[in-house]
Symmetry: C2
Subunit: 207 residues, 2 copies
């Protein structure tokens, strides 16, 4: 589990140049030479730091996982409210914007690189378990009223919408901005709506 330390200045430059170009033009349209050029280094130097293009993409995934962990490790111990959840969903969507090429091309990338697939699937499983835990907390705190048997399907629905809201906007040709992100969060909450008491819902509207 090697993360990018602050000593690897060049490595960071490469990764961020790659993220920028990948987001703008897609992984297929961006050559390693172009990444090197964007990072202000030579192609040879790029290959000193990374074995190949796939290696760069894998490192970006690790970077993304790192940021994602920061997001979900914080709400440990304390009791979360529904408006906390709104914040988490928003941060999650903002991460999707930062690494949008990854979300766009995920399946293709995983098919090309089985190692990437392995890593991502493992993380995905972990994520799901963590989110289930948070959901459970909501139920226990009385914010959500639903049977144990309904939890997984509700969580899965929220998960799918949360992770595909930006794609939906993009495919539909809609703007991605603060208001459209809020709309996505509202969509997820509207699915939970039948399981939230009117009182709690009123509080939520205000936040």
């Amino acid at each position: 589990m090697r993360t990018i330390s602050s000593k690897n200045a060049t490595k960071i430059k490469i990764i961020y140049a790659a993220i920028k170009l990948f987001n703008e033009h897609g992984t297929g349209a961006v050559s390693t030479n172009r990444i090197a050029s964007e990072a202000g280094i030579s192609p040879g130097n790029l290959y000193y730091h990374f074995k190949n293009k796939e290696d760069i993409i894998r490192s970006i995934l690790q970077e993304m996982i790192g940021e994602w962990d920061k997001l979900w490790l914080t709400p440990k111990g304390w009791e979360p409210t529904l408006s906390d959840m709104k914040k988490i969903i928003r941060l999650n969507i903002e991460l999707q914007i930062k690494y949008c090429f990854f979300y766009r091309e995920l399946i293709s990338l995983m098919r090309i690189d089985p190692e990437l697939q392995r890593i991502h699937q493992q993380i995905q499983k972990q994520r799901f378990i963590e989110q289930r835990r948070v959901f459970q907390q909501f139920v226990e705190a009385g914010h959500l009223r639903l049977a144990e048997s309904d939890m997984d399907s509700l969580l899965t629905s929220c998960w799918i919408i949360s992770n595909n809201w930006l794609s939906f906007l993009e495919i539909s040709g809609l703007e991605i901005d603060d208001s459209s992100i809020s709309k996505g969060i509202g969509l997820i909450l509207s699915i939970l709506r039948p399981y939230i008491s009117s009182f709690e819902w009123g509080l939520l509207e205000g936040s």
Copy 2:
């Protein structure tokens, strides 16, 4: 709006070879020469029928749109039941399997080819209107009890889940088979559950 007539035998061969290879390896990894070879023709011949690779992909989209139209134009006039909807969702998912590369790479493909983007966004808009109409019918028939104001968000949720269920399975490393498809349909129905009367729900379980 040029469709593939039965006279264009070669064109059809090329398109189906392309679909097969694209589904297996992704558009990026499949060269035009390989498509020609798979179709059993020469590269020159391929370029006689198609201007370039993008042209092939656009033709595949048209083919897909044609099949999709067949799916949704039939339920016109008669009053649909919820179990009819189950069938439509299933057929829709089966189309996603047939053209899976398209669903996987949609955003990337649209970014590379603005013309493809234009066509797809136009169709997407139409599709949404049609599905809204069907939804409306369900409400009017008394199968669904929901306010006009909730309709769009519920429809959007169903849309997103329906169009991303296979991706979800694939990303999670789960098998795509009859039972997992049924699970996806069940997921969509579970979102509608709070708006369906117990009686209707009972009928649905049976079908």
